[in-house]
C-alpha cells in the first residue's frame, strides 16, 4: 500500500496529466477532474481491492463506475497510472481513432471502463445493477460510484436512490462530488438541491460526510468509515466536499473551468504549481 507522500506525488502527477490532456486538444473538463484527483488516486491506489488485468465481469474484485463521465481526464489518468493501459496513450485523448473518447466508453475497448457515461444521471442505476449481480454471484466485493452534485438534478438518480434503499443494496458506496458548481453557475443558483445529507437519509441511506475532499488523509478516513458501514442492509452515500479546479489557483472556486481548456500561458502557470513527480507521459 503506498504511503501518504506517494499518494500526494501521484495526485500532483495526475493534475499535470489533466492539464496537459485538455490543453493539447483545447477541450475537455479540467475543473471537476482536478477537484476529484485526490479521490481517484486514493480509490484506485488504496481503497479498492482490484485484480491484476481487466475483464468486463470483474468477479472477485471491487468495481468503480463513473457516472459524471465528463471528468474523463482524471479517470483516464488514474487508470493509466494504475496500469490498465499505457500512460503514453493519454496523448490520444479526444483525438480521432482513440480509445480515450471525450466521455468514457466501452465501445473502443479501453481497459478499466465498464459502462459508457456522459449523458448524466445513469450511473447509479448501473452501479446498483452491478451490486445486485455481485450478490447473485455470492461475491462479497464492493461497488463504488461517483456522481456530480449537479448531476443529482437528473430524476433517474432518485429512482435509483429509492430502489437501493428499498432493496437493501448494502454493497454499494456512491460518492457525490460536492463542489457546488455546474455549467451555468453555482448549484444553488441553477437549481438549489437543499440538504443532500437529509435527502439521502430520508430515502434510507447511510451518509458519510468528508469535509476535506481534497485531503488524502481525510478521504482515507472517510472511505474506511464508509466501507465499515457496508453490509448493514443500507446503501452508503459519501458526500465529498471538494473544490473545483483544486491545485491550480486560478481554476479554483469557480465554475468557469468546468469545460474549458487552459491556453499555453495558463498551462505553464498550472504546471508550475504542480511540479513533475513521476514523469510526464
Amino acid at each position: 500500500m503506498p504511503n501518504i507522500q506517494q499518494l500526494e506525488d501521484l495526485t500532483t502527477q495526475v493534475r499535470r496529466d489533466i492539464l496537459r490532456m485538455v490543453h493539447k486538444v483545447n477541450s475537455g473538463h479540467p475543473g471537476g477532474s482536478l477537484g476529484c484527483a485526490e479521490f481517484f488516486v486514493t480509490l484506485y491506489q488504496d481503497i479498492m481491492e482490484t485484480k491484476d488485468g481487466f475483464d468486463m465481469d470483474g468477479k472477485g474484485e471491487d468495481l468503480f463506475f463513473l457516472s459524471n463521465g465528463h471528468i474523463s481526464p482524471v479517470y483516464y489518468s488514474i487508470l493509466a497510472r494504475s496500469g490498465y493501459f499505457p500512460v503514453d496513450e493519454l496523448n490520444t485523448f479526444r483525438l480521432i481513432d482513440s480509445r480515450l473518447q471525450g466521455h468514457p466508453t466501452t465501445h473502443e475497448g479501453l481497459p478499466g471502463v465498464r459502462i459508457a457515461s456522459g449523458s448524466l444521471g445513469q450511473g447509479m442505476s448501473v452501479a446498483i445493477g452491478a451490486a445486485e449481480a455481485k450478490k447473485l454471484n455470492n461475491d462479497d466485493h464492493l461497488i463504488y460510484s461517483l456522481h456530480g452534485d449537479g448531476e443529482l438534478q437528473e430524476g433517474q438518480n432518485w429512482e435509483a436512490i429509492m430502489y437501493a434503499a428499498g432493496n437493501k443494496v448494502d454493497n454499494l458506496i456512491a460518492t457525490v462530488d460536492l463542489n457546488g458548481q455546474q455549467i451555468d453557475g453555482s448549484t444553488d443558483n441553477v437549481l438549489p438541491m437543499g440538504n443532500l445529507k437529509a435527502k439521502f437519509e430520508a430515502f434510507g441511506w447511510t451518509v458519510v460526510e468528508i469535509e476535506e475532499g481534497n485531503n488524502i488523509e481525510a478521504i482515507l478516513k472517510g472511505m474506511a468509515e464508509a466501507k465499515s458501514l457496508t453490509g448493514k442492509e443500507k446503501p452508503v452515500c459519501v458526500l465529498l466536499k471538494t473544490v473545483m479546479g483544486n491545485g491550480v489557483d486560478f481554476m479554483m472556486h469557480t465554475h468557469a473551468w468546468h469545460g474549458k481548456a487552459p491556453n499555453d500561458e495558463q498551462l505553464e502557470i498550472g504546471l508550475a504549481q504542480n511540479a513533475e513527480t513521476l514523469g510526464d507521459y
Partner: protein, 317 residues
C-alpha cells in the same frame, strides 16, 4: 397453396411468459426485471419459481434499464419487462448510452405494442418503437407473430449475445406456427410460396397476410407470404429473392409507416432492385380507444387492407 391452422387464439405476451419460465429452469444467469407490470407481462411464474432472480423496480423504467445494464457486468442476462411505450420512448437515452453504446447483453421485452393494446388509447399505443429501436447501432429488433413464435424467440435471444428489443402484444390472436419451433434471429420465414405478389408481414399482421393470401388464391392470384420476425438485421436476401419472382411487394405491420418494416424493406429494394411497394401501416398518426379489431380496421391494419394494397401494387407492375 400451403395453409395454416389456428390451433387456438393465444396472446403473444403469454408466449414470452412461457419462454421466460423455461429459461428460468435452464439458464441460471437469466434474471428478470419488471416495472410494476408483472401480471401484464406474464412474468408471474418466473417470479414464483425464482424470487431471487426477479427484480421488481417499481414504476421507474429508466432505473430498470440502468440496473439491467449493470447486471450484465457479472455475467447475468437481464430480461426487462414493461409495455412497449415505456420500454422505448420513455427510456431511449438510457438504452442508447447504458445498453446499446455500452454493448450490454440486455433483452428489452415489450408487450402491448401497437393499437391492439385497445381501450387504453394512444398514450399507451406506441407505433414508433420499431423505428426508435432499429436506429440504435447494434440493436437487434424482433416482432413476433403468435404465442409459439414469441416463446421460441424468447429462448433464442437468451443465446444471442448483445442487446435485443423483443416486441409483442396484448390480445389473443391465432396461434399457428409450430410448437417448439426453431427460431433463427435474422432469418425470414417463407410461409407460402407464390409468383404474383410478395407480402412481407411482421407481428400480428402475419396472420392477416395469410388470410389475405387465401382470398387472393381463390381469385387466381398467387401470393408469397413472408414472416419477417426480425426487422433488424433484416433478411435482405429473402426479400430480394422473392421480388425477383413476383415483381411487386406489400409490407404489413402494426406500426407507423415512417420508421417501420416497410421503410427497411424499401431501403433494400431501392439499393438492389427497385420494385413497386405498397405499405400497410399506420399513416403517421396516433391511435385511440377501441377494441383491437375495431382499431385494426379503422387504421387499415387487417386482411382487407392487405387485399387493397395488393390490388394497387399489382397495377403498378
Amino acid at each position: 397453396m400451403k395453409t395454416y391452422t389456428n390451433t387456438g387464439n393465444k396472446d403473444t405476451r403469454s408466449g414470452f411468459g412461457a419462454g421466460l419460465t423455461e429459461l428460468g429452469k435452464t439458464n441460471e444467469n437469466v434474471v428478470a426485471l419488471c416495472a410494476d407490470l408483472t401480471g401484464s407481462l406474464k412474468m408471474d411464474e418466473f417470479k414464483a419459481n425464482h424470487p431471487e432472480r426477479f427484480f421488481q423496480v417499481g414504476i421507474a423504467e429508466a432505473n430498470m434499464i440502468g440496473i439491467a445494464a449493470g447486471m450484465t457486468i457479472g455475467g447475468k442476462i437481464p430480461f426487462t419487462g414493461t409495455f412497449a411505450n415505456f420500454s422505448t420512448g420513455r427510456v431511449y437515452d438510457q438504452i442508447r448510452q447504458s445498453v446499446a453504446y455500452s454493448d450490454k447483453n440486455v433483452k428489452i421485452c415489450a408487450s402491448h405494442a401497437g393499437v391492439t393494446l385497445g381501450e387504453d388509447g394512444a398514450t399507451h399505443q406506441i407505433l414508433e418503437d420499431i423505428g426508435l429501436m432499429k436506429m440504435l447501432p447494434g440493436m437487434t429488433v424482433i416482432n413476433t407473430c403468435d404465442f409459439n413464435q414469441t416463446k421460441a424467440a424468447t429462448l433464442a435471444i437468451a443465446k444471442h449475445h448483445g442487446p435485443v428489443y423483443l416486441r409483442f402484444g396484448r390480445p389473443k390472436v391465432p396461434n399457428f406456427t409450430p410448437e417448439n419451433g426453431d427460431f433463427k434471429i435474422g432469418k425470414a420465414v417463407i410461409l407460402t410460396e407464390g409468383s404474383d405478389v410478395t407480402i412481407v408481414a411482421t407481428g400480428h399482421l402475419v396472420w392477416e397476410a395469410l388470410e389475405a393470401a387465401k382470398v387472393l388464391n381463390e381469385n387466381g392470384i398467387s401470393a408469397e407470404v413472408i414472416n419477417i420476425h426480425t426487422i433488424k438485421p433484416l433478411d435482405d436476401q429473402a426479400i430480394l429473392d422473392s421480388v425477383s419472382k413476383t415483381g411487386c411487394i406489400v409490407t404489413a405491420e402494426e406500426h407507423n409507416y415512417l420508421g417501420g418494416l416497410g421503410e427497411s424493406v424499401a431501403r433494400v429494394l431501392a439499393k438492389h432492385k427497385p420494385t413497386p411497394q405498397e405499405f400497410v401501416a399506420t399513416n403517421d398518426t396516433f391511435g385511440e380507444s377501441g377494441t383491437p379489431s375495431q382499431l385494426m380496421e379503422k387504421y387499415g391494419l387487417n386482411n382487407d387492407a392487405i387485399l387493397k394494397a395488393v390490388k394497387t401494387v399489382l397495377k403498378r407492375k
